[in-house]
Symmetry: D2
Subunit: 370 residues, 4 copies
């Protein structure tokens, strides 16, 4: 039994040092917002630049994702004057227009297994039970918005491209055929010939009321050499932190990831000749610092726990009950994690790039020094 | 060609907010050291407490690890008065006594493939070429030292146990037989019946002049419920950051990790009954917050690139050369990563525990609330 | 002439670690806002609680302050559920309704002496010339809003009272008669008998088109013993930082301040007897830590440089010009700094209080231990 | 009476973000040390460079300061290779050789009024009673050491000079005659004709067993325009923080400081003509950003409370006792604060300079843009 009945308060809503993003807002609250600090001045920026990335993740886009048909329209409140960034904090806001609280009333007193409910209650007491509250995927809207600013800057000022795709869904592995195909289907699948198989799996899951996990690959091209700080602020460590902070992620790999366990040093090392690196097992990061090669990361996302199949759980009084979740859910959250992973990678690379400038290092295009 | 010839400076040698560790020192420099901030006062602490964890990783302990027979003796310079912590910064120092610089003279002008040499040179210019400099595994001595303080505090004041073991080496999977067996062989293998097989692989690799990767598992038991902050300071994200910051790590998993990709939601969720959680696929962390179950993490370590088999690389002038590394190397760095991973997990859990106290939450033993 | 034409970007819009305030917005932009992190949950909070402190500083309240008659209405966007804080980030927003840009068109191309214009232009290029942009006193609205939350929490949960008053305006020294009188005149003067003299000075300055400096005193009562960390996070150092960050502040004192220069140790020390401290020259802080006595701070505010009397300056081309500022200005900015200074002190004390809780120290009422 | 008997732990031993200094060590412990992060590589640095600034503050230099005749020899443990900085963390250490603990035994059980004893005991319990422990002036040795590195870098790479002097001792005001005279007397007095008067005051105080306060002025010349971030990381706010963190400081002024209270805007503003600024009331900082003019700061230091004249205090049991301090004390601590204030100013300016580089602003010599 507890002596003190005080509950914890939440902080930890900031990421980055030089390019800093601070978010606020609950899934079913009045609005979501964030402050983006450190955006260099004199960059052209409009709401449209941000909106296009938000639309890629917008619920309701495809019949597979959550049926909340919110437009998720972003508004810029500060930091931009006559279409050009001033260098001051950029305040972004998205008003919540579509909130179906009634779908969630049945879960008010039970803990949904696999959800943060149990741990939230233990920790916070006053659980905002609608739709997952702070930990909901909708909160990621602001990360995508902030990431959109970073992506634009990186692309236009440094030629850095960041793109992701679905690498695997359940037992279906997707093969990189063509980047263009990624945007042409609702799965972010890089091979259009596999779309039908994915669609079949999704319909089967929806019918069964179940869900499945996914693996995402995200790649950053033309990242300058030298980003990252040894010891504790390594680029790979910061990426791992940012990607693991995405809901449902249970694993992060850089380059060859867990397949290095079985490898020999003679196979795994990336040799260098006069024409450059001969391979990229390292995934673009050596000793925590970018090597100029493509930065390649993979994420493992667990299957959603909010499913139609009844599960065992307990209520606040500790009594065993059954839980059947209704509402609006995803058979595969992986479909939507692609823009979020891109956004997080953009935020981290932006942060390190600005840091590197503090150290007066040259920003190389990534070409070796010969 | 570069216009500016300025080089970057290095920072990023701190980790943690409430339990903060700042390190300094190079592998072949005068000394290694660190400052540990945030250690609560009135804790009994001696050099012996720290030394025992250092000895677990000491080079020269077994015939497989690096033949640098340094005693690695730690000295406490501040923060302890009459054997009790005062609450002030604890300064730790380890003097380097055995430095075989001559082993490294041949690599002064070439870049060892797979090493941080190339990226360091690009970034820093003045490369301290002996033994890997700052990025060497020996720098980890200070992490282990700081982690030893955290482990002691967590165990004695909160009953939290943190232990790791070798889960896989190359193609050999190690099965958890008995925690006691972990300390009885030089591999941290939890099944003594597999030691001979591991020994055979090591001798073969040493003869071939090659190396192999490994997978480490580290577990924290009895961690209180409620550690971690949603959004960006989640416990899993901080663990991923800390573990990925260990040299040679290319992948981090929490709980079931990448195997969740193939799973269904109906299988993967951890159901709750009156007797508690029925499984632990989540690895002890739900929604970024500790659930009270065992926290389970896995790391993938790549094989050492410093091997006897010649490899292709280039020198500073860009000419193709062959590199043959001599000196003192590990056929498997995984053997030594176990105490380091334990130390990093201890540091992160300590940091979150102290943070939680700021929020006046009860520190539970982890038992559910029924 | 400059080789590089890049301009700096602005960051540094956050204060605090445990109670963290991040602001955004320009004086003449769409809105002002901030995110307040670290507010403990289960606190009753309404917009009215914040509005009352904003109204104390609202332009248009008296005939002496700026004639911008904006209501400055604050809106809570997140972090409060059914009137109780949830512990999540609190997003606050104030929409700008009254913006008289036309008053400022004449200064677009000149640098107003004493203003940040020159340094801003040098640094940032794209100067948002309306009304002082980011550095305007209106930005302080958000600090007052965040401070209102801190003041409420401190008062209701810990009995800490924070109040300020005008101690001096030009050559007129104000004497503390009665705290109640502070709120009964537009000067925050603690002695109603001096109001007429102050009024006379203000009218004279307005007529002359000039301005005058002021000194503010702010006091925190019943602050618990033990707030502050030695060396670099001392309570006095953090207060100095927060108060010096208020626009126009050129000096900060704790306790007796600069008058200690002439004093002897035998006079200046605060002796302790069985009945407690016998004096408070230290102003409530000893060795950087609160002693339980009243915390007393004084600020010196310089006179506004935006005056009607023409002054010499240069334009962007370096030509000498005369500048005559029109618009809406204060003969004495000191009148409005009182609520801002209170807010900053509340934010700092709140931050340290939450930090202290991390260290499990008892929160005393301030009574000595005998 | 307290329910919980837990004591607080101490942190807060770091300052700076880009040029970061973390200190450890107690006055009478084994050693003092610090880690300096962020020093750019390729700078020539020897122990002698640091030692010369330490010797300026060394106890025993003059007959007026504390009679601890320690050599305070600094040793560089890392971060320098063959006399050139590598860019990695620089570890510095000073071993304590002269510790007269016996002088302090009488104060073990009483609280010295004006000292941090009372607040320390309340907060920390285990009070390290020798010589003031962590809060002792000797801890500042490490700040001076770190500041020496910053001063060297700023001077050699940017032509920035930072120098301080004694502006007032008790009722004696010192006038800036000549910078060279500052180093020629033990008072850091800039007018040799006043030395005799100061000497007379000191001998009188020593005889009386009393002490006196002082005012220090520190000036930085040729600071580039544009250092500082508006809102919360303003240069003046950071300077105020750093200077207020020096023991015994009770007031900080920038430029004209508290004398602005009486001034008119027409007098106080610094007008600009084609030949530049016509005055420097602002002390080199406008709107929180450096203007290129000399940065001028003043500090007020209170008189030492450790004096021979008996004072009233209480012991741990709350009984009234008399205290007579013996040992080795200063009649005026101001004499030694000059190098410390210079060091703090150097650290802050270095930190902001490195930050500014992150923003790709030109580093001007400070000349206006015409």
């Amino acid at each position: 039994m507890r002596k003190q009945n005080k509950k914890a308060n939440m902080a930890g809503n900031s990421i980055g040092q030089f390019f800093r993003v601070t978010t606020f807002g609950e899934s079913h609250g009045t609005a979501l917002g964030c402050i983006v600090d450190g955006v260099p001045p004199s960059i052209a920026l409009t709401e449209g630049d941000i909106q296009q990335d938000l639309d890629r993740r917008r619920p309701g886009t495809s019949r597979y994702t959550t049926q909340r048909c919110e437009p998720d329209k972003v508004q810029i409140l500060s930091g931009v004057f006559q279409g050009i960034t001033t260098g001051t904090s950029i305040g972004l806001i998205i008003k919540n227009t579509d909130q179906r609280s009634q779908d969630y009333s049945s879960i008010k007193n039970v803990f949904r297994p696999g959800h943060a409910d149990y741990t939230y209650e233990q920790k916070y007491g006053n659980r905002d039970y609608c739709g997952g509250g702070r930990s909901s995927a909708r909160e990621t809207a602001m990360r995508v918005a902030a990431g959109a600013i970073a992506k634009k800057y990186l692309k236009e000022k440094h030629g850095v491209h960041i793109r992701g795709y679905l690498a695997q869904m359940g037992d279906i592995s997707c093969h990189m055929k063509d980047w263009d195909q990624v945007e042409q289907n609702p799965f972010f699948c890089p091979d259009s010939s596999q779309v039908e198989e994915l669609d079949k799996l999704m319909r089967m899951l929806r019918k069964a009321g179940d869900s499945v996990g996914a693996k995402i690959t995200v790649i950053a091209k033309k990242v300058p050499v030298g980003l990252g700080e040894p010891v504790f602020d390594r680029l790979d460590a910061d990426l791992a932190h940012a990607l693991m902070s995405i809901n449902a992620v249970k694993g992060v790999e850089i380059g060859d990831g867990f397949s290095v366990v079985n490898k020999r040093g003679s196979d795994n090392r990336d040799e260098i000749t006069a024409t450059g690196f001969q391979s990229n097992h390292a995934g673009g990061i050596l000793g925590g610092i970018s090597s100029g090669q493509d930065i390649i990361a993979h994420l493992a996302l667990k299957p959603t726990s909010s499913i139609m199949i009844p599960g065992k759980t307990i209520n606040k009084q500790g009594e065993e009950v059954e839980i059947v979740t209704r509402g609006r859910h995803d058979p595969c959250v992986g479909i939507r994690a692609v823009p979020i992973a891109e956004a997080m990678m953009a935020i981290i690379i932006m942060d390190h790039l600005l840091r590197q400038r503090a150290q007066c290092a040259d920003v190389n295009s990534g070409a070796p020094r010969w």
